[in-house]
């Protein structure tokens, strides 16, 4: 640790989610529920993480981040990275342990949260300056307005501003107000190169002023670039803390080892999902999807019992669980040995809208006379409109509605008669 005082001190932190559903007025179990319970029981035996119907999202986390330090957090989907950040941001309460934060916290977890659509842009800024503990500051307000490019909309209700204004404003505000601790979730993935640079500048500034930054990302390259130290969380437990290089190497090595560790005797499942991630064309994990680039959903799974055909299903839903895409492919067994496989679903450029999405990968199989089984992994990701000039929404100030935002070709023609040839306009 290169600072003298700890900005963040977390001791013996645990977070337990109660999986017991409050279900009153019904008795008995449907076959589906029964199957779910059997599944749950299996996973308890196999993983030993879930106790009864309680789920340890985090257990016994100890962490100290000192002044002037940038700390990265990595881990697989559902490992507890976001839960940790949410606890630090005081969105969630810890079940056990203590959290001590020294200084003002800026949490860039959910862009747009905490901004009120019924207030004007300037009122929203004033509110957040006040909430950050500072006195009213016209200079700061001006800076935020310039940064968010909302100068023309200063006295207009946020709801009536162009699409994406809320996200831009919250980003600009959170990054500009005085803060000693910055909590950032996939921060660098958001925004274009200019924003990225601003973000890096700000992170550097916070470090120079003796603050600290906690940075969660799937983008290992970005983590390696900016973080001093990295913590690897695995299924709610601290796996490794150390220099960025060392931890990332260990993390990648384990993923590799897991892929090649084909042990059909370890469980009676016909398949096992190792990883589901958003990746670039080259297969590098990325933190968020850029609308103007093709991205890939990659599912690494093992076909452990080649005598049983399995099917891989990719499902894409939006934040409200509305299903956008869902399709499955059957994988016929080849040979007699278990295989590690990779399924890739290409998400074409200019298909999704700027929003949060959830991807699920499911592998299903059926053994004669037994109910169908499936294993599932999910990952949340954001799609960002990072390049304004290439955006589908370029030149449009109104609502950017829609589950998706495909680019459509328009043609216009005019003619002096109702029928007949129209000359292109």
């Amino acid at each position: 640790m290169n600072g003298t005082t700890a900005r963040i001190a977390v001791a013996n932190l645990s977070k337990v989610f109660d999986l017991q559903k409050r279900r009153k007025g019904r008795s008995g179990l449907s076959s589906r529920e029964l199957a779910a319970m059997v599944q749950l029981g299996r996973s308890v035996l196999r993983r030993g993480v879930r106790v009864g119907r309680r789920f340890y999202a985090l257990s016994d986390i100890n962490l100290e981040v000192g002044s002037g330090e940038i700390m990265g957090i990595i881990g697989r989907n559902g490992a507890g990275k976001s839960t940790l950040l949410k606890i630090l941001a005081r969105v969630l309460d810890p079940t056990e342990g203590s959290v001590r934060l020294e200084g003002r916290v800026a949490s860039l977890l959910e862009l747009g949260a905490g901004f009120n659509g019924d207030l004007t842009v300037s009122e929203n800024i004033s509110l957040h300056i006040a909430l950050s503990g500072s006195k009213p500051d016209p200079d700061l307000e001006k800076r935020i307005l310039t940064l968010s490019e909302l100068g023309d909309y200063r006295d207009i209700d946020l709801d009536d501003c162009p699409g994406g204004a809320s996200a831009r404003l919250s980003f600009a505000t959170l990054i500009s107000v005085n803060s000693d601790i910055v909590l950032a979730d996939e921060m660098l993935a958001v925004g274009d190169t200019r924003f990225k640079q601003l973000c890096l500048d700000r992170i550097g500034q916070v470090r120079d002023e003796g603050g600290c930054v906690l940075f969660v990302s799937h983008d290992l390259r970005a983590i390696a670039q900016i973080c001093d130290r990295v913590m690897w969380i695995d299924r709610g437990k601290m796996r490794l803390v150390g220099s960025a290089k060392e931890v990332i190497r260990a993390y990648e090595a384990e993923l590799h080892a897991k892929i090649s560790a084909l042990d059909p005797t370890a469980s009676d499942d016909a398949a096992q999902i190792i990883d589901l991630r958003l990746a670039s064309r080259a297969g590098e994990p990325i933190g968020a999807l850029r609308l103007n680039r093709a991205s890939y959903l990659e599912c690494v799974f093992q076909h452990l019992r080649p005598d049983i055909p399995i099917s891989l299903c990719f499902e894409l839903t939006n934040g409200r669980k509305q299903i956008i895409y869902s399709a499955a492919r059957t994988i016929e067994p080849v040979g007699t040995d278990p295989r590690a496989m990779r399924g890739r679903l290409k998400i074409p450029p200019h298909f999704l809208n700027e929003a949060g999405y959830q991807a699920r990968a499911k592998v299903r199989w059926k053994v004669d006379n037994e109910p169908r089984k499936e294993v599932e992994m999910k990952t949340d990701f954001r799609a960002v409109d990072s390049d304004a000039s290439e955006s589908v929404w370029a030149g449009w100030d109104g609502d950017r509605r829609g589950l998706v935002a495909p680019r459509l070709a328009w043609r216009f023609g005019i003619s002096d008669r109702k029928r007949g040839r129209a000359k292109p306009l």
Binding site: A327, A328, R342, R344, L345, L408, R411, F412, I414, S415
Partner: protein
């Protein structure tokens, strides 16, 4: 010459009074009473919705509807108020009376509003055709020919001696439809039944309908499927018992001044007017084997120039905006016809969607916003197949998949 003319046609709500209970207790009523005791209260009737009798059931089916349909036209009644279009079809086939107004039909009428309505279960296919012949106003001397034509067209020749009750829905529909088409009435009313037949039969029906229309027969086709079909040359949309838009297929003559769609504008501006722009037609070109895009073409009549026009299409499923397509702003310098075509890549699943068209016209800074909704049923592309999932996604884009063993990737 007109085929159907309606003036101020109004039909009140259907009488749905509960049936009077018959005599003494029966086994089922005893069970019902027992059930009521166990549940601790009388069973709620499913018909008493949240708004009881005063809900949708209490509304007039048709409200002061006037129109004229010319001979030889094919008119689609795609909804969205299907109760209204069905009421109109039932009035035409004399299975429902009008409450007020009048409707004139020029010629004979034949119709099939619901599947299997015309056939008796205890007759064989052959007997059913012979029996219906008289009702269809086919002269007796044509009986043999009529029978042959119907059996040939419906493809039910080999099932002619099978009882109707053993027919599948599709089979009895084919037979019923074939009878109506072969009887060649001057006005044909068909309910939402075309979807039942297979593609081949569907195609044959379409050809027959086109052929008959060119010979002067008039068709009324109900059901949302006809909203996108290219079969109809006129589409009458009903909303809340009234005609909300009456569109002629693109390219047809348009009545003078205002255009047929002029009354469908919901103009945000105080001045309710379509002084600057009129929509004269919407055509949807479904995907074909050679090209997989759906084209939606809008025909506008530009009545004031110069003006800037921006089109926004929202594709909805229920109330969900699935996606929004915003066109660039076009500047029209002179009075003209403007044709806007948007090409939709293969995205849509086989679901019922709606397109909401918003048009923002800017004439020297004076903005007018107009909206119109249009039904759109996605036609599955040729060769489209089930993807093997039970949850229905809102979109079905053909995304690329790649599944390979890991070792091969590493190479």
């Amino acid at each position: 010459m007109f085929a159907i003319r309606a003036q101020g046609l109004t039909r009140g709500p259907l009488n749905r009074l509960p049936k009077p209970k018959a005599g003494g207790p029966t086994v089922s009523s005893a069970f019902g009473a027992l059930g009521a005791i166990v549940r601790g209260g009388p069973k709620k009737s499913r018909k008493d919705g949240a708004d009881g009798q005063k809900g949708a059931l209490g509304q007039d089916l048709l409200k002061d509807v006037s129109f004229t349909i010319d001979r030889g036209s094919i008119v689609a009644l795609p909804g969205p108020d299907l109760r209204a279009s069905e009421a109109l079809m039932r009035i035409l086939t004399a299975s429902l009376q009008v409450s007020a107004g009048r409707i004139e039909i020029n010629g004979s009428i034949g119709g099939l509003v619901t599947v299997g309505a015309n056939l008796e279960a205890d007759l064989t296919g052959r007997e059913a055709v012979i029996r219906e012949r008289a009702y269809m106003r086919v002269p007796e001397e044509r009986e043999e020919a009529f029978l042959d034509e119907v059996l040939a067209f419906s493809g039910m020749k080999e099932f002619e001696d099978v009882l109707i009750r053993r027919y599948s829905t599709g089979m009895s529909l084919r037979l019923g439809l074939a009878m109506i088409l072969m009887a060649k009435p001057s006005v044909v009313v068909l309910g939402d039944i075309m979807g039942v037949g297979d593609l081949d039969f569907h195609q044959r029906c379409k050809e027959q309908i086109r052929q008959m229309a060119s010979d002067g027969a008039t068709f009324l086709l109900g059901g949302p499927a006809f909203a996108v079909d290219d079969l109809a040359d006129r589409k009458m949309f009903f909303e809340r018992g009234r005609i909300s838009s009456d569109l002629s297929a693109a390219g047809d003559e348009e009545p003078e001044d205002g255009g047929p769609a002029s009354h469908v504008w919901h103009v945000a501006d105080d001045q309710v007017s379509c002084a600057v722009l009129g929509l004269s037609g919407i055509s949807v070109l479904p995907p074909t084997q050679s090209q997989r895009s759906t084209h939606i073409r809008l025909h506008w009549r530009v009545k004031a120039a110069p003006q800037k026009i921006r089109l926004i299409l929202d594709f909805l499923h229920g109330s969900i905006v699935v996606f929004r397509a915003v066109a660039r702003e076009v500047i029209v310098e002179e009075l003209c016809w403007l044709r806007a075509t948007v090409s939709l890549p293969p995205l849509l699943g086989a679901l019922h969607y709606r397109v909401r068209i918003t048009c923002i016209s800017d004439q020297d800074g004076r903005k007018r916003t107009m909206r119109i909704a249009h039904a759109l049923d996605a036609v599955p592309t040729a060769g489209a197949r089930s993807t093997g999932v039970e949850s229905i996604p809102l979109l079905r884009p053909p995304l690329d998949w790649e599944i390979a063993p890991i070792e091969e990737i590493a190479d």
